[in-house]
Amino acid sequence: MAIDMSEIGEAPPVDRVDIWNREDMEPRIREILDRTVRDRVKGPYAAKTDMEVVAMLERYFARTEGLESIRISGVSRMAGGASKEQFAFTLQHEGDPAGERLVLRMDPLEAISQTCRGREAQVHIAFADILPVAPVRSIDADGEILGQPAIILGFVNGVTEPSEGKGHGVSGIGTRYDDWAAKLAPQFVDTLAQVHRFDWRSADLSYFAAPEAGTRQAPIWQVNWWSQVWWDGVVQPVAMVTYAERWLRENAPVCDAPVMCHSDLRLGNFMFEEPSGKFTAVLDWELAHIGDFHEDIAWAIQRLFGTWTDDGTFLVCGLIARDEFLSAYEVASGNQIDPVKLHYYEVLNAYKCAVIDLGQAMRAATESNNHQDIILTWLGSAGAVFLEQLVMLIRKA
């Protein structure tokens, strides 16, 4: 990729966005970040027991829906996720003796990323008719009733990695799809295209705000979000993180047309049924926001989420060769990928990952505010991978 960033770096301001104004941020994101700092001292957090979860849910459905003779059964903690505490359970009550299988997705006091269950619910609902997503059963965005912010979703069947397959790791990283790739790759590309083509202006997205088109507000909102997380949580200063922040401000590109971004679409974040390979749910919408589609593309092509075939070809998300992926996406979405912007968002994403691993995760683990601090430090120990990517990417600029 031949890129000449110097023009952008030294160009006069292209809009009225102040690249150093740390206040410029989506209002709901600010609320969540402020709440994180405010509540941080309330820890430590202990993983919920099954009995606690049953009691919380019984109270919750009695109060929110006035259900009677509520019976919560089959509570089982779902594995995975360094972020939310998740429990599958069956809800029965007078009006529904047969019962319904649901998933409680709940914030521990502090996680690897701090996000909003209200946003998550709105985006699930908005995409209900467009993509396979888990149906939203109930929502407590600020934890007013449940005690912790939570979303309750319908249970979806499927797997995130082939049941018979080689190698898997924390959060699905390193999964090899092998023969499944032919079935999964087109759906993956299509999902990205559908998300980006979505008409967010006509949806009920009251928890969201949109950056101004034709300005640098979209990237600056992201830089302000994640740099705020860094400075609120910093355990030990890291010079490269600081320098990357500066670079990201000074090189922020204009976003011509903001689109809905999933922000974490990668291997492990979609479910499919076996043996058809048909997608049953696109998962983990918690980081969704309105911004530049290049962010999603740069996220999906990260080395960490990919695999190599036996002959050494890199597969995006373990599914499809990089060039093939980029052209298939362009065809499906109608968007033109700009290599300069793609490169910028690769830096932004590496920065986000470094902030999450070395900032937010370390702080939450230090405060003992998660239900599985032990995963936070495990992931944190991989933070330097992103520091090196930052160096490589910025040098390439």
């Binding site: 355990v235 370390m362 683990a365 239900h371 599985q372 601090d373 032990i374 944190g380």
Partner: protein, 168 residues
């Protein structure tokens, strides 16, 4: 480094206490005991690991001092060997934990031989008895302090802290 060793130890202890232990059924008593012991070991290691090299170096110096104290009273048949062993020991790089451990075994082996006197054939001077006992007294105090967190020592309340012992 991020995450630090201390933070990781704290996380491990929390995972064992709050997630692993409650997930074991009541009949898995051995496993429960072992989780509790792991927690105890980790809490102890968390106190110790920073001091380990200094602690081991201190033990080594105490042993060299014992050897030197034995020197004037030692039977003539051991004099040369002991002198050499002391010189070799003193040449060991104090920060290298593995080298120190190795050197303790070498010097300690010779001290043992002198104490036993080829199974009683060589007499042991009263001054050496006393030297070994006072070394043993000081060294056992250090080790008891180092491991006080086991709670097994009936007199642990009389022990100083690790930091106090390490400070001299």
């Amino acid at each position: 480094m991020l995450p630090s060793i201390d933070l990781r130890i704290a996380n491990i202890v929390k995972a064992l206490e709050q997630v692993v232990l409650p997930a074991l059924t009541a009949r898995e008593r051995l496993a429960k005991d072992q989780v509790n012991l792991c927690i105890g070991h980790l809490q102890m290691i968390a106190q110790q690991w920073r001091w380990a090299a200094a602690f081991e170096a201190g033990s080594f110096h105490a042993m060299i001092a014992l050897a030197e104290e034995m020197q004037p009273s030692v039977d003539a048949s051991y004099a040369e060997e002991l002198g050499q062993a002391i010189a070799t020991a003193k040449a060991v790089e104090g920060h290298d934990l593995a080298a120190v451990e190795h050197a303790i075994v070498a010097l300690g082996g010779l001290i043992d031989r002198i104490i036993l006197g080829e199974d009683g054939q060589v007499a042991l001077a009263p001054a050496i008895w006393e030297a070994v006992l006072s070394y043993g007294e000081k060294q056992s105090l250090r080790e008891r302090t180092w491991f006080a967190a086991t709670g097994l020592d009936p007199d642990r309340k009389e022990l100083p802290s690790i930091a106090e012992v390490m400070a001299g």
